[in-house]
């Protein structure tokens, strides 16, 4: 029974293809261009990021920076680029696509219900100069001038009344001309920001590999972030072109006066104290390989047994 094309299907199919082409045509040549080709052809865009770890009322910790992403990428990809630029682990998502952790920090259960609210990462747009709560995901295409805000709500109500990221939503003050200039020359700066030449201890704790993050002790205002007070911070700046990007692109601002925080290798760890680092917990699956293999064998055996019994005519002894 081979399927033969019938002429009466040809006309509707041709019309359908024509209608699709007509719908795409106004989008311009970019519409049908394969994504990778578009990436290669188009230039990059600069996006300002503000990530607020929302550590309670006492010590909000805000990380802001400028990142260069290939044009055509959506907000999730830009966030991943931002995390990579800071040598953070990639953001993790749950099975429904809800953002769970940034830099391994988030609720132990994604979107965990706490009292009458939720522990979740809220998403904000800051293009207009003030933060606007986004009720949709970060799937819109990035353009230069966007200010992307992520704030962990601990807990929040899940609507626009939740607190916005505790930093100004200003593209020009985050992506300054110096920051953009620092990101521009090395083409590899966005993809492998401080990878190989990270100095003496690349495999160390997250804090030293932060590309020149100016970790200010408590009480210092974010406005003075470009001056590096501690000697510890300057020694970790890598000697690559990315080094120049460090002080200007990433400012770790501590507004609350926490003395336990920055500069120390436990930067991320101190965040993780409040809530579990689910990102890293998910990865150490190597120790669970034995039950996995046993389970796989059981599944195969049961399936084979079922197939054997199914093939036998029911009713036969």
């Amino acid at each position: 029974m081979t399927w033969r094309p019938r002429w009466r299907w040809v006309v509707p199919t041709a019309m359908l293809i024509g209608a699709g082409a007509a719908a795409v045509a106004p989008a311009g040549p970019d519409g049908l261009m394969p994504f990778k080709a578009a990436v290669a052809a188009a230039d990059s865009v600069y996006v300002a990021f503000v990530v607020d770890f929302g550590q309670g009322s006492g010590s909000p910790q805000v990380v802001s920076g400028c990142v260069k992403v290939p044009s055509g990428q959506n907000g999730y990809a830009a966030l991943a680029d931002f995390a990579q630029q800071l040598n953070w682990p990639a953001p993790s998502y749950n099975s429904a696509g809800l953002l769970c952790t940034i830099d391994g920090y988030g609720a132990s259960v994604c979107g965990q219900v706490v009292g009458s609210g939720y522990n979740y990462w809220s998403y904000w747009h800051g293009d207009s100069g003030t933060w606007a709560y986004s009720s949709t995901g970060a799937s819109r295409t990035m353009q230069t001038g966007e200010v992307e805000g992520w704030r962990f709500q601990n807990p929040g109500s899940g609507n626009p009344s939740d607190p916005a990221p505790a930093a100004g939503a200003s593209f020009s003050s985050i992506c300054t001309s110096a920051a953009i200039a620092a990101l521009t020359p090395p083409t590899s700066a966005t993809t492998t920001p401080a990878g190989a030449p990270t100095g003496p201890d690349p495999a160390g704790s997250p804090s030293p590999t932060l590309p020149g993050g100016t970790n200010l002790p408590g009480g210092t205002d974010g406005g003075a972030a470009t001056t590096t007070p501690g000697a510890g911070a300057t020694t970790t700046v890598p000697g690559s072109p990315a080094a120049g990007t460090g002080p200007t692109t990433t400012t770790t601002t501590l507004a609350g006066g926490s003395t336990t925080h920055p500069g120390s290798p436990g930067t991320s760890g101190s965040r993780g104290e409040a809530l579990a680092r689910t990102g890293s917990a998910q990865h150490n699956g190597n120790s669970n390989d034995v039950p996995l293999v046993v389970g796989g064998i059981i599944v195969v055996l049961l399936a084979l047994g079922a197939l054997y019994r199914w093939r036998r005519q029911p009713g036969a002894p």
Binding site: L32, Y76, A77, Y93, P314
Partner: protein
């Protein structure tokens, strides 16, 4: 096994409600996890039990139909993800041409890079739905829909036609597929591929609905759902039942989506159950019923139902205590874990393969003793197959 069941082992079918309880518990367990390893284990257990304990009734092939349906669901789910997915960053497999969408369509995409992670995640999502369908198919394979119909509480007789169609439509579809395919084969028409599907779909759906309605009509003619003379009592019974069922639906919603209703919907469930009980009590004495061949509820029924409940209990306990392996996400990509206790718990669901009496001796003794007229109709598929051979 206990003496109560020993005599019955070679010669009876299990109570249909026991099979439905077991299958429903397995399905709810599948709802509560997103771990593909656990889902695969549940599917394997369900398929094995069905293969071990199905009869040769025409609806016993339901599982095969639902298995194929599950495969289609997985393919559709992956296809939707590839075309309209959320485009989370990951290892890009290939890229589709991208259609730019206006800003108000944020959250939807058409085309774009397709990552390995998103395909894996979509496959696991589809697998979950497929396993739930498989559990439903298992219940339809193992339990006689006509016997199940007889177990319904008297109150539901008000909705006689709807309940009958709801309970028997899936098995009737399976029966109709068999007979329609045989008929097409005898006429030399294609039964496979796209051409076969085109000729099959309409007759199968129409035939299955026709048969369900015909069954409902024949039951109506025999006094099923006969109305109570006392109008006041009838109103009380119907009203209490309807509002009770509505509250139970709300309560189940609250129990599944924690945080949507106060106290997890438990008050709704309690009030709804109380109202339902009132409705049943008020409507219970409507007409005396006699049973030609009662379905006993013996030790084997308890064993089958409790094994399903035990599996579900392990899953609920794991969910409450926050076992990390219960949920799986492909972002970032990693191998799923298999929590040992959950795996062992699922294997408890295998017990019905030995606990339930084998239907084979019963089948070889003669035709279906079900007094239902539709069930006693000649089975088209069996007869035609015999002739074709």
């Amino acid at each position: 096994m206990a003496p109560a069941t020993r005599g019955a082992v070679s010669g009876r079918t299990l109570h249909p409600a026991a099979w439905w309880l077991w299958a429903a518990a397995m399905a709810v367990a599948a709802v509560r996890t997103t771990n593909p390893m656990l889902l695969a284990l549940i599917a394997a257990v369900v398929v094995f039990v069905v293969a071990a304990r199905r009869s040769d009734a025409p609806w016993s092939r339901s599982l095969a139909v639902f298995f194929r349906l599950g495969l289609i669901v997985i393919v559709i789910r992956v296809g939707v993800e590839v075309v309209f997915g959320q485009r989370l960053p990951g290892h890009t497999l290939f890229s589709l041409p991208r259609v730019p969408l206006p800003s108000w369509a944020a959250g939807v995409s058409i085309g774009g890079p397709v990552s390995l992670e998103s395909v894996v995640q979509a496959g696991v999502d589809g697998l979950r739905l497929a396993v739930i369908l498989l559990c439903f198919g298992a219940a339809n394979s193992l339990a006689s829909p006509y016997r199940l119909l007889r177990c319904l509480p008297t109150v539901l007789y008000e909705a006689g036609v709807a309940v009958t169609v709801a309970l028997t439509f899936a098995p009737e579809v399976v029966i109709a597929i068999g007979s329609t395919r045989e008929a097409r084969r005898l006429r030399g028409r294609p039964t496979r591929g796209i051409a076969g599907l085109r000729g099959l779909a309409i007759p199968v759906l129409e035939g299955a609905l026709d048969r369900s309605l015909q069954l409902a009509a024949s039951m109506d003619a025999r006094g099923y759902g006969r109305r109570l003379a006392d109008a006041r009592r009838r109103r009380l019974s119907t009203g209490a039942t309807a509002s009770g069922l509505l509250l139970i639906v709300l309560g189940v919603f609250g129990a599944l989506d924690s945080g949507s209703l106060p106290a997890g919907g438990i008050p709704f469930l309690a009030v709804g159950a109380a109202l339902l009980a009132v409705g049943m009590a008020a409507g219970g004495h409507r007409s005396p019923r006699t049973r030609y061949r009662a379905d006993p509820w013996r030790l084997a029924e308890w064993g089958v139902a409790l094994s399903g409940v035990a599996v579900l209990g392990v899953f609920v306990a794991a969910g409450v205590s926050g076992v990390s392996g219960l949920q799986f996400s492909a972002f970032p990509l990693h191998a799923p874990a298999l929590p040992v206790w959950l795996g062992v718990g699922i294997l408890v669901g295998l017990l019905p393969a030995t606990l339930a009496p084998s239907p084979r001796g019963w089948v070889s003794r003669g035709p279906d003793p079900d007094p239902n007229p539709v069930a006693l109709e000649p089975r088209p598929s069996a007869r035609v197959t015999g002739a074709a051979r």
